[in-house]
Symmetry: C2
Subunit: 338 residues, 2 copies
């Protein structure tokens, strides 16, 4: 049973896309799960009424599993991320995360400011012992199964120890949320050999080799679309947040670019949509912020109702699998507690 | 007038692809240009005879502008790159580069070992004053014009000063070889704002802003497929060789992955080939090794005759434009000579 708080005001298409996504998620989720819509009650109620009277009338039976939690304020993209808990204590972001800190909710999902969500999650949920910052994990579509890449932008200059922590966090995520057994961990570098890479990756390679994780060695840029090397699949790819963020934004932009290119060459839209469906980010839902004591899922700012629905499902899976507890156990078993 | 030495033995499909590419290039190049095929004379002669008697018989009039320079040895992929000049002095790689050092050639092109070509170019051609290492520049296809990205793998841990040097090298390359006026230089980072990025890029941003180059600021991963930001096009993108190499290999693998995906969805091969033609690396030819005193062009190991032809044309353009001299002038005008 999971109570999932959704920032109803976060994202470019809120509150319509968020409320619609919540109703769609309830239809898919286990009936024991409920959703807390956090934000301006009047605006949320208006969307609920309109959607249930119209395009989502089939979702009416699920309405009772959906509550509204009033939050009169909203985080703006111009707000300083590190200050939002203090500057906007009554924002949907702060109220939604505080529900979890107070034991009244099990997970939080937002399509609002990523920086604000990260900072507020660190303040209100706090980090597991031994961690300095959380990491963002995103799923990259591939020719095999999607690959979990972390960090995707929370940490720019990383030490080898931090990259090993990302590997531990990613391994638990792949196991608990993606359902992978003994997830295969790769270290992003510029050659297969252990001695290829920059100073940090070379040292990280040595540490990962004796980490007890299922470390398959270095992977290269070409192994991401392939979902692994020629020899074996990879579940988790570790890199610093600078490289991860550049790659993520590059990948997000490639699919639309190629679609435009092919459309100009006369390929019919229907074939393109069908063929590239699994490259669509809304298929994969939200990106968990790993390392906080709780569940905080980052959805894309441009999230459609479908993307919100999938982010809510990721949150439910994280709660149901006990991901947060498993992370705590794994970290305390391997890291010296500060 | 350019005399271009081609490593006839380098690359996965040599010597057939290299000799064929040379004949095709001669048909396209200015009649004053000539090609020196460097390698095992018998093997090269055999390919020339077969191609001119067969599929490339139309190229026969160009045969006189193509000479053979004997080199009995070949660099193997297992050779230690830094040692090839000493361990294989009679290899096609070493002989071809020495021609240029001795004033008997104006440029060198190889599809052989990139590491060996880089090391041998540094030893035999030497670097311009003030440089510690050369940089590899590659062209990324984009929705606008191709974008020159450097470094693409020669330097993994780079200082801000080195990244500024890459910007200077890339600017001359874009001007001389790509014909761009006042090339727009972008710094690859994870946000548009000057204060976004890791420690090195933040410092580099400050240096580039006062470099006298046409610096347009930070660009993000998504700006690479777009060929610039929403506001303006970018000609050159600067990053360290770790990030550049990861991105290059990622990009090279994306197109085949998407083509497979779309083929499986029923898009006809002809439409795919037509639509994605300009994503094909063989269209763009070789990657210059910038910073050496001379012209050394790196072709992809899997180069087709068409790719070799285009790499030879890049070499001719570099010679004709006086790129190497311009680089020397620009560096000595801005850098303290050691």
């Amino acid at each position: 049973m999971a109570r999932i708080a959704l920032d109803a005001m976060g994202g470019d298409f809120a509150p319509k896309a968020t409320v619609a996504g919540a109703l769609m998620a309830l239809a898919d989720l286990d009936p024991a799960h409920s959703i807390q819509l956090v934000g301006r009650t009047a605006a949320i109620q208006q969307q609920l009424d309109a959607l249930l009277a119209g395009e989502l009338s089939a979702m009416a039976p699920h309405r009772p599993r959906c509550s509204i939690v009033e939050a009169p304020d909203v985080v703006e993209m111009t707000d300083k991320p590190s200050a939002v808990v203090r500057s906007r204590p009554n924002s949907s972001m702060a109220v939604g995360l505080r529900l979890q800190a107070d034991g009244e909710s099990d997970a939080f999902v937002s399509a609002g400011s990523t920086g604000a969500q990260m900072a507020a999650s660190m303040v209100l949920l706090r980090l597991h012992a031994g961690l300095k910052r959380p990491a963002i994990v995103t799923l990259f579509p591939s020719a095999r199964r999607p690959v979990a890449v972390l960090d995707s932008g929370a940490n720019v200059d990383c030490s080898p120890d931090e990259l090993v922590q990302f590997a531990r966090l990613g391994s638990v995520y792949a196991e608990c949320v993606l359902g992978r057994d003994e997830p295969a961990i790769g270290l992003l570098s510029i050659g297969e050999e252990a001695e290829k890479g920059n100073a940090v990756t070379k040292e990280t390679h040595v540490l990962l080799a004796k980490s007890g994780l299922n470390f398959i060695g270095n992977v290269e840029g070409r192994d991401l679309p392939a979902g692994g090397t020629d020899q074996q699949a990879v579940d988790v790819v570790v890199c610093d947040g600078f490289v991860g963020n550049v790659l993520l934004k590059f990948y997000e932009a490639i699919a639309p670019f190629m679609i435009d290119t092919l459309r100009n060459a006369g390929v019919p839209d229907q074939m393109l949509g069908q063929g590239l469906k699994h490259l669509d980010y809304s298929e994969h839902g939200g990106a968990p912020l790993l390392g906080v004591r709780g569940v905080s899922i980052i959805a894309h700012g441009k999230s459609s109702p479908r993307a919100i629905k999938n982010a809510l499902k990721v949150a439910a899976q994280a709660v149901d699998s006990g991901m947060n507890d498993v992370i705590g156990q794994r970290l305390s078993a391997t890291e010296p507690v500060a």
